[in-house]
């Protein structure tokens, strides 16, 4: 299980005067499914080309299955490693079977022509990729997803120990992306082929790869499990943008949510806005307020809720309590303390029940203006207590009711103008 299939030691390579890879050291072991990530121009495709000797190494050493790469003949190399490119176009009328049979080339010679065994391997490769039903169709008449499966079949026919994929799904729709990735996973697990895949889509990589290698500026920037590699520092250096990382609830893998690249127009009045929220409804609002430069605080939020996640991600100070516990008097004291300096207090769209009605106690003594999201009234589980509380509050202080969060943002903008 621990044989080194691909090993790069201090590899440098490039085109002309530009050195794309400066010092890459990494290894892929038997049975591994490793994802190679990095921004455009980080050298991912160059690395794949190096493995195939399409670009000579300037420094360092590269070996496949323990054999020095430069000393391998292309036939020998093609028996050890196969490549699936981004997308692959053939101008000529080769049938699917012809294309898959080309995968047997490294085993054939003048003396050794296609034997029944080769046909059987081709047959199995087509079965495995579910392409045997169009074996007699022309490759260039297939759709993108079908073509990618055929190229995978060709790679399987090479009987390689290492499969290199150069953004195999970038030209496909979601259905075919997942199909191709699942297929690769199966090959990895059932045929024990080690996989090194250049992937653009971090979430795809996180979901399917056991290991992720991140290239940045020609060297390995991070290398480890998806949870180790996908962290805020790495991702922000990779994408140069604001993003959020959370755990996908279905696959239990970290996932990024890209938020914004361009800076939001900053608010001229640096008001303090306290948002009373706590479930999952206020995330977008919190983000936008934060992006516009307001001083944002929140409370009382339940830990592990969506709003709490976003406060954590964006570093918004908040009063937090354990999940499914009621908001106690002491929690609300902390909350009130936080909103003491607030210019505006917004009650966001959130469901109210007996246990969190305390969120609204004591608001009448706060100096800030109060806004209330009307939709909270349709999520009222307090049997009238919420309405009663609002009446009490309304008698002592003005409450502005708003229809949705965007209307609230517009209101703020108008106020500034």
């Amino acid at each position: 299980m621990n044989t080194e299939i691909l090993s790069l030691k201090h590899v440098a390579a490039g085109y002309g005067s530009r050195e794309v890879l400066t010092d890459v050291t990494l290894s892929v072991r038997e049975g591994e499914f490793a994802g190679l990530i990095g921004s455009n121009g980080a050298g991912k495709s160059t690395l794949i080309k190096c493995v195939f000797g399409l670009i000579p190494l300037r420094r360092g050493a590269l070996s496949i299955c323990g054999r020095e790469n430069a000393a391998l003949k292309s036939r020998e190399r093609a028996r050890l490693a196969a490549v699936v490119p981004q997308s692959y176009h053939v101008e000529y009328d080769f049938t699917v079977e012809d294309i898959v049979m080309m995968g047997r080339n490294p085993y054939l010679s003048l003396r050794r022509r296609e034997s029944p065994e080769d046909y059987e391997i081709v047959e199995n490769a087509m079965k495995l990729t579910n392409t045997e039903q169009f074996r007699d169709r022309f490759y260039n008449e297939l759709s993108g997803g079908e073509r990618q499966r055929v190229i995978l079949a060709r790679a399987i026919a090479q009987k390689p120990r290492l499969l290199l994929l150069d953004e195999p799904t970038s030209s496909l729709d979601v259905h075919h992306q997942i199909e191709v990735m699942e297929l690769i996973t199966r090959l990895n697990q059932e045929e024990h082929i080690a996989v090194l895949a250049v992937l653009h889509d971090i979430n795809m990589a996180s979901r399917f790869c056991q290991r992720m290698i991140m290239l940045q500026e020609g060297r390995v920037f991070a290398d480890g499990t998806p949870s180790e590699v996908i962290n805020r520092q790495n991702m922000e250096s990779l994408y140069q943008m604001k993003l959020m990382i959370h755990k996908n609830p279905l696959f239990h893998k970290p996932e990024i949510v890209p938020i914004r690249v361009m800076e939001e127009e900053k608010a001229s009045l640096r008001q303090h806005i306290h948002v009373i929220c706590g479930a999952n409804g206020a995330g977008k609002l919190l983000e936008e307020l934060d992006a516009r430069g307001y001083q944002v605080t929140a409370g009382v939020v339940n830990q592990e809720s969506g709003d709490w996640d976003i406060c954590q991600e964006l570093g918004i100070p908040c009063v937090a309590i354990a999940p499914f516990t009621p908001v106690t008097e002491s929690d609300q004291t902390l909350n009130l303390k936080m909103m003491e300096t607030a210019d505006i207090i917004l009650v966001a769209d959130m469901p109210f029940g007996e246990s969190n009605l305390n969120n609204l106690s004591g608001l009448e003594d706060m100096p800030g203006r109060i806004y209330f999201h009307k939709n909270a009234l349709s999520n009222d589980h307090t049997h009238g207590a919420l309405v009663k509380r609002l009446q009490e509050l309304g008698a002592r202080k003005k409450i502005t009711y708003i229809g949705d969060h965007d209307a609230f943002l517009d209101l703020l903008k108008k106020e500034e103008a």
Binding site: F52, V83, Y88, F94, P106, L110
Partner: protein
């Protein structure tokens, strides 16, 4: 299975080709009756004991020493050019590639022009000097083009094509200069460049045969790898093809074949360009069928054209003119009829 369906195509084509050779041997300006011609063929070539009374020695000589070698040379030349064309179109992945793109023809023509001007007719191994100079010219040209485009150990295809065009234009200009300076030889040079099978005999066939057989065998042996290189050079490397070695092999084999053929016949255009295309349109791009079918149809095509060249007018028309005249429109017709396929999808 489709593979089984295609297996008959090659033997059938061979049969058609033999029929064409037979018919073309029987046609000609000299009036030799159909039964007489058959008797001569049977007697001379199958060594059958046939009553030859009533057939003149002249008729026998025409069939044996004129028509039959012409048909055989026609087949060899057409077959060679078509197979070289298929090989070149393969490694260049370019629909315009023919055996002459790299300047074989210009080199041979310049060599031949020098031979003609110098009246360098002294025979060496049954051959005249013009033929030898043409052969040398062709080989030197390819050597030059190859070395110009070489980058380290690699030979990029695009550079190869461009330097081929550049060298070939230069040589053509040099030949024009020679022609202007030697107006008395102009006609002869012109006729040489238009290609003809006239006046060639068994000795020329024996001279080109070894090279042609060797070269074609070498090209045939590249079939599988040529298929793969059609799908892209990088892919070919990834599938274990030694691309640079393959290029050299095809280049060398094509040069040796086409140079030896055109040094004997002069430049016969269009066969090497059109025949592989036609075969590809009909039988698909796989070189395992493309190569043998190009061989058979290239040979048959040139025999027919040559028979026309010597029969339709009272004088001999250079066969290169006929090949272009028939091949061009036929090719256009095929292109219009089969819009997709090959390069033209």
């Amino acid at each position: 299975m489709k593979k089984k369906n295609r297996t008959w195509s090659v033997p059938l084509s061979v049969l058609i080709c033999i029929a064409i050779m037979y018919i073309c041997t029987l046609t000609g300006v000299a009036s030799i009756s159909f039964p007489d011609a058959n008797r001569i063929l049977l007697h001379e070539f199958l060594r059958l004991d046939i009553d030859m009374t009533g057939i003149s020695e002249g008729s026998i000589a025409i069939i044996r020493n004129v028509r039959l070698p012409r048909v055989v040379l026609g087949f060899l030349s057409g077959a060679s050019l078509a197979v070289c064309g298929a090989g070149f179109q393969g490694i260049f992945k370019n629909p315009m590639a023919d055996p002459f793109v790299l300047g074989v023809s210009s080199g041979a023509a310049l060599g031949a022009a020098i031979g003609i001007i110098l009246h360098y007719d002294r025979g060496v191994w049954m051959l005249n000097g013009t033929t030898l100079l043409a052969f040398a010219g062709a080989f030197l040209t390819i050597g030059l083009v190859y070395n110009i485009s070489r980058v380290g150990r690699r030979v990029p295809v695009s550079t190869l094509l461009l330097s081929g065009i550049a060298v070939s234009q230069t040589l053509a200009a040099a030949m024009s200069v020679l022609m202007i300076l030697n107006k008395q030889s102009m006609d002869q040079i012109m006729f040489w460049t238009m290609g003809s099978l006239n006046g060639k005999g068994w000795s020329q066939i024996l001279m080109v045969l070894p090279y042609v057989v060797l070269g074609i065998a070498l090209l045939f042996s590249c079939s599988r790898e040529l298929d793969i290189i059609l799908t892209g050079e990088d892919t070919a490397v990834q599938l274990g093809v030694n691309v640079e070695f393959l290029k050299k092999k095809v280049l060398f084999a094509s040069t040796i074949v086409s140079a030896s053929v055109i040094s004997v016949t002069g430049i016969i255009g269009f066969v090497g360009l059109v025949v592989p295309h036609v075969v590809r349109l009909v039988a698909g791009p796989k070189h395992r069928t493309l190569m043998p079918l190009s061989l058979v149809f290239g040979g048959a095509f040139l025999i027919i054209c040559d028979t026309a060249a010597r029969s339709i007018a009272s004088f001999e028309i250079p066969v290169g003119i006929i090949t272009s005249l028939c091949g061009g429109p036929f090719f256009v017709y095929l292109l219009r009829k089969m819009k997709r396929g090959g390069y033209f999808s």
